[in-house]
């Protein structure tokens, strides 16, 4: 239990060790730990950012989906309207066509009737003349009685 020079030797050793630790041991470990701390902080921040952008994307996706749904609905509506329009158009077109065909048929029929009537008129005139010829047994000048015959034919 005697105090001696060891005291000073140990003291100097102690200071040397402290100096070495301050200078060479502590800084690199501290640097590594600090760097890791920043890395972790950055990673956490990035994760936060990712989560936030995911949320934003979710919102965006919902909006886009809603939009698309709306568009589809409007397209469907338009198509429906268009189809209805087409059907209506076709119907009116067909009706008009029928009218037209009916009219032209009517006109044809009328024409035919007229033509048949004219023909009949001519034949009736001829038959009348022939009959009169036979009845009268004499020649009648068809030209002299043309106006009489025309009058008769018009009466038929």
């Amino acid at each position: 239990m005697n105090i001696n020079l060891t005291l000073f030797a140990q003291g100097i050793t102690f200071f040397a060790f402290i100096w070495f630790t301050v200078k060479f041991v502590w800084p690199p470990i501290l640097a590594a730990i600090e760097e890791r701390r920043t890395t972790i902080a950055n990673g956490l921040a990035a994760a936060d950012k990712g989560a936030r952008s995911l949320e934003e994307a979710q919102v965006k996706i919902t909006a886009i989906l809603e939009d698309a749904r709306g568009q589809a609905r409007s397209i469907l509506d338009q198509a429906q309207t268009r189809a209805n329009g087409l059907v209506d158009e076709a119907r009116t077109g067909a009706t008009q066509e029928r009218e037209r065909i009916l009219q032209s048929a009517q006109a044809e029929i009328d024409q035919q009737i007229n033509r048949a009537r004219d023909e009949l008129r001519g034949q009736v005139a001829a038959i009348t003349v022939a009959g009169a010829e036979k009845i009268l047994a004499r020649e009648i000048d068809p030209r002299a009685h043309q106006d009489l015959l025309d009058k008769l034919a018009a009466q038929i």
Partner: protein, 268 residues
């Protein structure tokens, strides 16, 4: 020491408590305990060198187990310092605390070495006496405590200035009334003296007592086979208890170092 000498308990213990003393000049104070010096320097190199080696290759990425272990110690010390010291601990206080903790821990841990086997081995190489535990040498603990004490005074003067420090010596804690100067100074003197004393003697006392109890337990081996067995059991018990004392004393020594140096940074 002659081999024919009768081995008594007293001679056994006093032999193991003998330092490998090397007189420098006229002896007396001018003596060096070679064993304490060699062991402390060796352990300092082992402890701080290992951390240095790991720290040199420390990566910020995923640490390997060695680095993780070093970081565990590092964080432990750093946390203690941050709890007490309000300033930049990385400049001096935290590395100093790490040095103190590691070094004292390793020096304390030499108490676990089987003293008779190691001293026999060392004796075979030459020296008659060799104390393994430097912290059971009052020179070592006082060297550490007084170094911390000097650091404390150095930082006091550095932070507050020489005038500020002297002012604090005379004007705190009771007040700056000239009538109180003497009381203030006496009070501070007691504090200045008691700090290194308690710092050094606490560590020395614990380790010295631990060493002596080990020696007393090993004496059981002199009583025969049963006694040897009993000594082993008791020695194991004491070693396990000592396993608490060794880090605890290193921790206390480090904490007091931090507290003293932190107090020096704060003005009252």
């Amino acid at each position: 020491m002659a081999a024919e000498e009768v081995l008594t308990p007293t001679s056994y213990i006093s032999h193991h408590l003998m330092f490998l003393a090397q007189p420098v000049g006229q002896g007396g104070f001018w003596t060096i305990h070679v064993d304490s010096l060699v062991m402390s320097v060796l352990l300092g190199f082992v402890g701080i060198g290992l951390i240095w080696l790991v720290g040199r290759t420390a990566t910020a990425g995923v640490p390997n187990k060695r680095q993780a272990f070093v970081e565990l110690i590092f964080d432990f010390v750093d946390e203690q310092v941050r709890g007490i010291f309000h300033g930049d601990p990385n400049k001096f206080v935290a590395p100093a605390a790490l040095t103190v903790f590691l070094w004292v821990l390793l020096m304390n841990a030499t108490a676990f070495l089987p003293i008779d086997i190691t001293t026999k081995a060392i004796h075979a190489v030459g020296p008659e006496e060799f104390r393994l535990t430097p912290t059971a040498d009052i020179n070592t603990t006082f060297a550490l405590a007084l170094s911390v004490w000097l650091l404390m005074i150095y930082f006091s003067i550095k932070v507050k200035g020489l005038g500020g420090w002297i002012h604090e010596l005379f004007c705190t804690p009771f007040g700056s009334n000239p009538l109180l100067w003497l009381f203030n100074f006496l009070f501070n003197l007691v504090e200045l003296v008691s700090k290194p004393l308690s710092h050094a003697l606490r560590l020395f006392g614990n380790l010295y007592a631990g060493e002596i109890i080990f020696l007393l337990l090993w004496l059981w081996a002199a009583t025969g086979l049963v006694g040897t067995f009993g000594g082993v059991v008791l020695g194991l018990g004491w070693a396990i208890f000592h396993l608490l004392i060794v880090p605890l004393q290193a921790y206390i020594f480090m904490m007091l170092t931090i507290v003293y140096i932190s107090m020096a940074h704060e003005s009252h």
